[in-house]
């Protein structure tokens, strides 16, 4: 056992002394997690761009101005930017946002028109402007789509400034005065300016306020929580494939023969190499999990379950990492096979897109990878799964590890006897 540990600790030390290896092990997965999180806004049902932002408009106002607000969202001008849906129930609209089906809900209050154009103004009575009501437009935002929500907020800001500055409200009042015969078209310009100035004289906060509320976190999908474990496992696969390859590199550099002519059994050397790779993967995953917590605020869930799942994922990945080396003649061959396996596994196991988005048959193939079991296990734990929920994934990964270690051991025995 001492010799196994001696080989393992030497490999662990060498793996963590390689600056390029450290970039691949730690920097790359964190950077990619960050990029994916930023690009997809942490949470989001797959809508990454700013085109056609889904927004729910709830108009509780029956006055003259609010229809213009709704129409503005439905205008040709904003057609490429927003995808508005109107609803009548504010609570239902908030639920749509909570379900991540919309970036925001804009809720126009019942006294919206009255707060800008007090009753009597249309009859030409400007006295209502002196003691205005205050209306509150609520923008209920999706925390998973911060950029999209900010766009909706700026649209609402812009529309309200047009109302409150008096230009739009003045036009509406004048049109209605002319239509009712109380104002002749000749007087329209002078009277319109007067109303506009009177309405615009009051500061916006005095009559219309905007309140921004953040919706509940959507637990159905979160890109950051998904990409952190998926990138960690993907890059651990690269690391352990490279670590497995060191057996061939040591053979070529003469250090493996030097070990083989010491009074050490070959099984001890192979065991030491496997343990060294396992410890390397374990340390890499531990650092990435802790960094995910510190940098991205990811709550990984039940610590015991996370620990056991990590051991199982690393064991299975160590097995896959050894396999290309066991069946390759040169380190170049092992490198090519190992890289291909890591990338293919990443693709079929959902490291790049969620596995649920893949066809059924591909999802089933993905189950031969430690990535699929690991990503699902971690993601479920992050979202509240228990140790009992995680046991099937742990067992599947450990079984995978046992089978792969067996294959690798047989192949090595054949190669080095």
């Amino acid at each position: 056992m001492k010799k196994i540990l001696n080989v393992a600790l030497k490999d662990l030390l060498l793996n963590f002394r390689d600056p390029m290896g450290l970039v691949l092990m730690l920097v790359a997965p964190l950077a990619l997690t960050l990029v994916i999180g930023a690009a997809f806004g942490g949470t989001g049902g797959g809508s990454a761009g700013l085109g056609e932002i889904p927004v729910v408009i709830v108009n509780l106002d029956t006055g003259e101005l609010s229809p213009y607000m709704v129409e503005a969202f439905q205008s040709e001008e904003l057609a490429d930017l927003v995808e508005p849906v109107t609803m009548t129930d504010a609570m239902a609209a908030r639920q749509v946002v909570d379900k991540d089906e919309a970036a925001a809900a804009v809720i126009i209050p019942a006294n919206f028109s009255e707060s800008i154009l007090p009753a009597g103004l249309i009859q030409g009575d400007l006295s209502g402007l002196e003691t205005p009501q205050v209306s509150i437009v609520e923008i209920y935002t999706n925390p998973g789509r911060p950029v999209s929500a900010a766009v909706i907020r700026s649209i609402v800001d812009s529309l309200l400034s047009r109302f409150v500055s008096g230009r739009l409200s003045g036009e509406i009042v004048i049109n209605q005065l002319i239509a009712s015969g109380r104002l002749s078209p000749a007087e329209a310009q002078t009277q319109g300016q007067l109303i506009g100035q009177s309405v615009g004289a009051a500061e916006p906060p005095e009559r219309v306020e905007i309140t921004s509320k953040t919706g509940a976190q959507d637990k159905s999908f979160n890109w950051l929580e998904y990409s952190a474990p998926s990138m960690a496992i993907l890059f651990m696969m690269f690391t352990l494939s490279a670590a497995g390859r060191t057996l061939l590199i040591e053979r070529d550099h003469g250090t493996l023969p030097r070990m083989l002519i010491s009074p050490t059994r070959r099984a001890e050397i192979l065991g030491g190499k496997m343990l060294g790779n396992f410890l390397t993967g374990l340390l890499q995953m531990t650092i990435l999990i802790l960094t995910g917590r510190l940098l991205f605020g990811i709550t990984w869930g039940n610590p015991l379950a996370v620990g056991l799942l990590t051991i199982a994922v690393v064991a299975a990945t160590t097995g896959w990492g050894m396999l290309p080396t066991a069946f390759s003649r040169t380190s170049g061959q092992a490198n090519a096979i190992g890289t291909a396996i890591a990338l293919i596994f990443g693709a079929v196991a959902g490291s790049f897109v969620p596995r649920a988005a893949l066809p059924d048959w591909l999802q089933k193939i993905g189950l031969i990878t430690p990535n699929a079991w690991g990503i699902e296990g971690y993601y479920n734990l992050i979202n509240g799964a228990t140790l009992a929920d995680t046991v099937p994934a742990i067992l599947a990964l450990l079984a995978m590890a046992v089978i792969l270690f067996g294959f690798a051991a047989l192949a090595f025995r054949r190669q080095y006897t």
């Binding site: 390689d18 003469g254 023969p257 002519i261």
Partner: protein, 314 residues
């Protein structure tokens, strides 16, 4: 002296190629035995079988009574190996390399630390103990490579061409170190394709070519195989076709054998003074300019030439 190594009809085949064809020899405890032969002669394969790295296809060897095929672990405890290539971890320090390989030989604790420090002193690397090997010169790496082979105080050490690719100063140091170790009681099996090294170091020499041990004995015994013949070594210019010249000079009545090497033609002659005029006359006829001529007493190179018809550096 007792026999510490006895190789019996060692054979190693790699598919259709037979690298070693029934090699047998003995090494007495306390001697330096050299396996002398050109590249590809089977020296490294022989050492690999003796050090249990390769299993012989046929034959066996016993080291201090232990069979390399039946009791390899016991053999490994007795031997040290200095491989031809630098078998060290570049990203570990000199000290870390020694401690790692020491533990692989079952050493530990203070004993290992003291022994590693002693070896570092012995190979002149005490002041670089904590430096990573990748910062070392080629000569320093060679010295540490030897140090690792000696760390566990083996009774018999196999040194496989330890001076390949190093500067003359480092080579001198290594040869002196081998002699010193031998004086301290270490038995050495040394492989080389440098005749000078075998001559300087060895108590006995085995000459190996194409996987066969073609002669074995003390230097005196081997040179007697050549008789009283002398060697003429013609140093030639870069533009001379040495193979053609060797074939031509072999036709001269005073020349027994001729072979070509790097910018050299080596002639075995019964009497150098008598052969020289004829050789010079013929080279003048062929318009070949000779840079210099060495006249050598019978030596291992002459033995090799005598036995194989080729120069060692062919």
């Amino acid at each position: 002296m007792s026999v510490i190594l006895e190789a019996q009809q060692l054979v190693k085949k790699f598919k259709d190629f037979t690298a070693v064809k029934g090699v047998s020899f003995e090494i007495q405890a306390g001697e330096i035995f050299s396996l002398l032969g050109p590249n590809g002669a089977g020296k490294t394969t022989t050492i690999s079988m003796l050090s249990t790295l390769l299993v012989p296809t046929n034959g066996d060897a016993r080291i201090d009574g232990h069979s390399v095929t039946r009791d390899p672990m016991a053999v490994r405890r007795l031997i040290g190996v200095v491989p031809q290539e630098i078998a060290l971890y570049d990203d570990l320090s000199a000290s870390e390399n020694l401690l790692f390989f020491g533990r692989m030989h079952g050493m530990s604790g203070e004993v290992l630390k003291k022994r590693a420090a002693a070896v570092l002193e012995q190979v002149g690397l005490t002041d670089r103990a904590k430096s990573r090997v990748k910062t070392f010169s080629g000569g320093m790496k060679r010295r540490l490579n030897i140090g690792v082979g000696l760390l566990h105080s083996p009774r018999l050490v196999f040194m496989d061409e330890p001076t390949v690719g190093i500067d003359p100063q480092s080579r001198r140091n290594i040869l002196d170190a081998v002699k010193e170790l031998n004086q301290q009681g270490l038995t050495v099996l040394y492989t080389t394709h440098y005749m000078e090294e075998a001559q300087e170091l060895s108590d006995r020499v085995g000459i190996i070519d194409h996987g066969e041990l073609i002669a074995c004995g003390t230097q005196k015994e081997l040179t007697q195989l050549v008789g009283e013949h002398e060697t003429l070594r013609l140093h030639l210019g870069d533009d001379i076709a040495v193979d053609d010249l060797a074939r031509d000079l072999a036709e001269l009545p005073q020349v027994l054998k001729a072979s070509a090497a790097d910018h050299e033609v080596v002639l075995m002659v019964p009497e150098a003074e008598e052969a020289l005029p004829g050789v010079i006359a013929r080279t003048n006829q062929l318009d070949v300019k000779i840079r210099s001529i060495d006249i050598e007493e019978p030596n291992l190179e002459a033995v090799f030439l005598h036995l194989t018809g080729r120069a060692l550096r062919d």
